[in-house]
């Protein structure tokens, strides 16, 4: 290599310009979580040290993501190509506002889950690697949000999936293995479709760099040709599976109620949203013509997802299963944004993704706390929680309003944007479906609140009567590790509801950055595009 006698002009193949130290922030999220995960793995027998290390590295991850967001807002899109090879040959990390916003919110949620896990994951769970898996899951999640290469996106998907299998079976219950099989099989099929589609894309264009692909697809005479339509359909099916869109959504309610509740919280917050992110990235940035051509199909899938999610939630009496359906309804809202495809609609989808990441994690944590207080996840057995902690009842009501899209909480603004975008695009049915789904979700969440908090005791308790319930009261629960993460997430929900300008600006910038990707392309290829 370096010692070879033939002199080679490396500037043809490699980037010889010095890299600013700040640009290293691009790889910081992946690097921090890999190093942290590896360290936790080596020290996994030391169950007291695990939470400290895990939470420490997750905190570091939040700081790194925040610094990267500030840098992206200052300097525009940042690209770093691994090993200094020139794009499109080197593997590029290209960080734009869309990617880093989701990465930051995801890392905040993971940090909260790390803290919550300190209270809910016992020492066996820690020894079997809760924190290493959580950190490596975040490697995959952040990597997927930040990468600028489709095959690399596939690799990050694999990383997060393998970590999620580990988290899912943590504890080895029979029901968990059952959930893991359903989850695993469907996700494997989805991943394979993703890989096949990527192989076909490489066969057509000879490149996997997203910016390069966007340029080459745009240069085609007939960008909606047969082969490319096949690729687009395969990608849509693959990511719809990951995102749990109708009709490939059954794995989610079948598996999300089986693991430890903090694991469900992380999954509900992050995993489906990575699927939606990949859908937005590929259909808006790389295959805009195919998106236009498939818009009706996407809209139909979105409507079906919105309605099945909300109706499914109404039919459930197990809180975690119910929340699983609420996750699905939210996915429908984001797909509606992709179906419309204007800058406004995509910004609505991004804002909704941010909202959904935060609120779904918070709701699953709240379900865990309901179980600690009332001793069950079943609405028929829960009751009287208002007496135990009025503050917790209020928090749950806030989260329930937010997830239904009622003002003044974080779910309201993205829904307004999405409905507005759908109506102005002439897709009345899509807008109506978002509204109906919001209404049904309100009923479902109201049902939970009435049964678990308002009713004096378990099913059969007459109105106005109060039954003493065993289980811990609010103040007996193990303090900060339980309440702090829920508090942080609820505060974010309220903040984004009352002060939406900041997130609106970020999501609009993220959306316009991929609808008109000149900044993205220039960041990868310099000024010549």
């Amino acid at each position: 290599m370096a010692g070879s006698s033939v002199s080679v002009d490396l500037s043809q193949a490699m980037n010889t310009a010095p890299i600013a130290l700040g640009d290293w922030l691009v790889v910081a999220p992946s690097l921090i979580t890999i190093l942290g995960g590896a360290l936790c793995l080596m020290l996994r027998k030391n169950t007291d040290l695990q939470p400290k290390l895990g939470i420490g590295f997750l905190g570091l991850l939040v700081v790194a993501n925040l610094a990267l967001l500030i840098r992206v807002l200052d300097h525009g899109v940042i690209t770093m190509v691994m090993g200094s090879w020139l794009p499109p040959f080197g593997i590029a990390f290209t960080v734009d506002t869309l990617g880093i916003t989701l990465s930051l919110i995801g890392s905040i949620v993971a940090f909260c889950a790390g803290v919550f896990g300190a209270a809910t994951v016992d020492s066996t769970g820690r020894r079997y690697g809760f924190y290493p898996f959580l950190l490596l899951l975040m490697t995959g999640v952040c990597g997927a949000f930040l990468t600028g290469d489709i095959f690399n996106l596939y690799v990050w998907f694999e990383v997060l999936l393998i970590s999620s299998y580990g988290l899912l079976v943590l504890g080895n219950d029979r029901i968990q293995l059952d959930g893991a099989v359903k989850y695993g099989v469907l996700n494997l099929i989805g991943t394979n479709l993703f890989l096949i589609a990527t192989g076909m894309l490489y066969g057509i264009f000879g490149t996997l760099n997203m910016a390069d692909l966007a340029l080459k697809v745009a240069a085609l005479e007939n960008p909606a040709s047969g082969t490319l339509a096949t690729v687009a359909a395969l990608y849509f099916l693959a990511f719809a599976m990951k995102a749990a869109a109708f009709p490939v959504n059954f794995w989610l309610p079948a598996s999300y109620h089986t693991p430890n509740v903090v694991v469900s919280a992380v999954f509900a917050g992050l995993l489906t949203k990575v699927g939606v992110y990949a859908l937005i990235r590929i259909f808006v940035l790389i295959l805009p013509a195919s998106r236009g051509y498939m818009a009706d199909v996407i809209a139909l899938v979105a409507i079906a997802t919105l309605l099945t999610g909300a109706i499914g939630a109404l039919a459930q009496s197990e809180v975690r299963r119910l929340l699983g359906y609420v996750v699905i309804a939210g996915i429908g809202s984001m797909l509606a944004g992709v179906a419309v495809g204007s800058t406004l609609a995509i910004s609505g989808a991004i804002f909704y993704a941010v909202h959904s990441i935060i609120v779904m994690t918070a709701l699953y944590m709240a379900a865990g706390i309901m179980n600690m207080m009332g001793g069950s996840y079943d609405l028929r057995q829960l009751g009287g929680l208002y007496q135990k902690s009025a503050a917790f009842a209020a928090v749950f009501l806030v989260l329930g309003f937010a997830v239904s899209g009622l003002p003044p909480f974080s779910g309201f603004w993205p829904k307004v944007i999405l409905v507005d975008a759908a109506f102005s695009d002439g897709r009345t049915w899509l807008g109506a479906a978002i509204l109906v789904s919001g209404f049904l979700t309100t009923l479902a969440m109201g049902r939970v609140w009435i049964f678990a908090f308002w009713r004096g005791g378990p099913e059969g308790t007459t109105d106005g009567e109060t039954v003493a319930i065993s289980g811990e009261t609010g103040t007996q629960l193990s303090g900060a590790a339980v309440w702090l993460p829920l508090g942080i997430l609820t505060a974010l929900v309220v903040y984004f509801g009352l002060q939406p300008e900041w997130m609106l600006e970020l999501s609009t910038q993220g959306a316009s950055g991929i609808v008109e990707p000149l900044g993205y392309l220039r960041s990868v290829f310099g000024g010549q595009v």
Binding site: M1, A2, G3, N15, P18, I19, A20, L21, W24, V26, V27, L31, I34, L35, G37, A38, L39, C40, L41, M42, R44, K45, M80, V81, M82, G83, S84, G90, G129, P132
Partner: protein
């Protein structure tokens, strides 16, 4: 499986395989081989030793838990991408250091450490699976 011939030969065979795996690991940069295939060979050495002499003796022989080994490998691989930060180059840009030891030119490089990391990850992960399966069989 525990015939006397196998039990006598297994330790020597395992030792040879580990040696061969290191050879494969080191020649891997420009020729066929490398960390992944080397790690597989070393993991099969552990598996053979485990079948012949019992899993407990393998665990004693490798001192660290296999998952700890693969954790260290991951750590090493990630660190191997870092040195280019001091030369203002991108992550994972390879750095080379030529050392002359007894007249032989030895190329120390970051890809080498990356490869060693991969080797350890594979030994740890596959070894862990193999030993767990063999343990189950012995029950």
């Amino acid at each position: 499986m525990r015939t006397i011939i196998f039990r006598t030969i297994a330790p020597y065979l395992s030792a040879l395989m580990v040696l061969f795996s290191i050879f494969v690991l080191l020649r891997g940069h420009n020729e066929p081989g490398g960390g992944f295939i080397g790690g597989l060979i070393a993991a099969s050495a552990l598996a053979i030793f485990g079948i012949a002499c019992g899993v407990a003796s393998v665990r004693r022989a490798i001192v660290f838990h296999p998952m700890g080994v693969s954790g260290f490998g991951l750590f090493l691989s990630a660190l191997a991408g870092l040195p280019s930060i001091f030369k203002a180059q991108a992550f994972m840009t390879s750095q080379w250091l030529e050392v002359h030891v007894f007249g032989v030119e030895v190329a120390l490089s970051t890809p080498l450490f990356f490869d060693i990391g991969v080797y350890l990850v594979v030994v740890g992960a596959i070894g862990s699976i193999a030993l767990a399966l063999e343990e189950r069989e012995a029950d």
